[in-house]
């Protein structure tokens, strides 16, 4: 096994260990909130998921820019991996939020600015992943999805600032100033848990993308075939 793959697996294992510790702290040790009671314990997975979803999509945005500037395949591999992880985390974010909304707001969903912009984020990046699946040419696929990712990324800061800019039903951003100090540790531990988990998974997923593209672009050569016909884009690393 390559050292980078072993490192990715170690990151995943460390992330899972942190998540187990943080969730235990949040469920068993941290006090309930004054008004929301035990329901507030959903915050220990919901808020870290939100932070990491936006971080993963920001990573994908940086990879898209790097690909367009360098034409190195490793950035396209990372873009695909980061975007997929961001969509999974955003989808999870909506599901957790919906479960939290029912006992606190009385509804599973509301077309409030934060929720609406988050739904747009899921569909925009999910759509780009679908676009990638339909384009056979690896060069076109990489360029188109990089450009689309940069355009879709406009929504990410809107999601973050939506609760500040508009009169939203959603509560304000969770920061050390808005969250009681008794809740800080499980939040931080779970945030780092999800961070390590997605860094590890993105590492492995990028390797999958690299191997898959290598198979698409370079069919097995025999001694009689010359090694020509590769696209003029550099780099085979993850």
């Amino acid at each position: 096994m390559r050292a980078s793959s072993a490192r990715s697996i170690a990151f995943v294992a460390f992330g899972v260990a942190l998540l187990l510790a943080g969730s235990w702290w949040g469920l068993a040790k941290a006090p309930g909130e004054v008004f929301m009671g035990d329901v507030q314990r959903i915050m220990y997975v919901h808020v870290p998921t939100a932070w990491n979803a936006m971080l993963a999509l920001t990573f994908a945005f940086v990879c898209a820019l790097c690909f367009l500037f360098t034409n190195a395949w490793k950035w396209d591999n990372r873009l695909e991996a980061g975007m997929e992880m961001g969509v999974v985390l955003s989808l999870l974010l909506c599901m957790q939020g919906s479960i939290w909304a029912k006992p606190t707001w009385g509804v599973w969903w509301d077309w409030d600015p934060r929720l609406t912009t988050t739904a747009v984020m899921v569909f925009a990046f999910g759509g780009i992943l679908a676009l990638r699946a339909f384009v056979d040419d690896p060069v076109k696929r990489a360029v188109w999805s990089s450009v689309a990712c940069i355009v879709a990324f406009v929504d990410v800061p809107i999601v973050y600032f939506s609760v500040k800019w508009w009169n939203s039903l959603h509560q304000a951003q969770s920061t050390p100033q808005t969250v009681s100090s008794a809740f800080h540790w499980p939040l931080r531990i779970n945030a780092f848990g999800i961070l390590f988990l997605w860094i590890g998974l993105v590492g492995l997923r990028a390797r999958v993308a690299a191997l898959r593209r290598r198979g698409e672009m370079a069919p097995p050569l025999t001694q009689k075939q010359p090694a020509t016909g590769r696209a003029p884009i550099t780099g085979g690393a993850v």
């Binding site: 793959s5 995943v12 969730s23 469920l27 004054v34 008004f35 929301m36 009671g37 035990d38 329901v39 314990r41 959903i42 997975v45 919901h46 998921t49 992880m85 999974v88 989808l91 999870l92 599901m95 957790q96 479960i99 939290w100 029912k102 006992p103 606190t104 999800i194 988990l197 998974l201 492995l204 997923r205 390797r207 999958v208 191997l211 898959r212 290598r214 198979g215 097995p220």
Partner: protein, 47 residues
């Protein structure tokens, strides 16, 4: 009405279960795809 939510553990359990299932399911799919692509690449090199 006091404005305080009583109980609600079923929602907490649901949120944590959904998180574990989705993240666990995605992690499993990534590991399986990684294993499959690695095996395919090895076969191409050897065969």
């Amino acid at each position: 009405m006091s404005g305080v939510i009583e109980g609600g553990w079923e929602f907490v359990i649901a949120a944590y279960t959904v998180s574990a299932l989705l993240l666990g399911g995605y992690a499993t799919s990534v590991f399986l795809r990684f294993k499959k692509e690695k095996a395919r690449a090895t076969n191409e090199v050897s065969g």
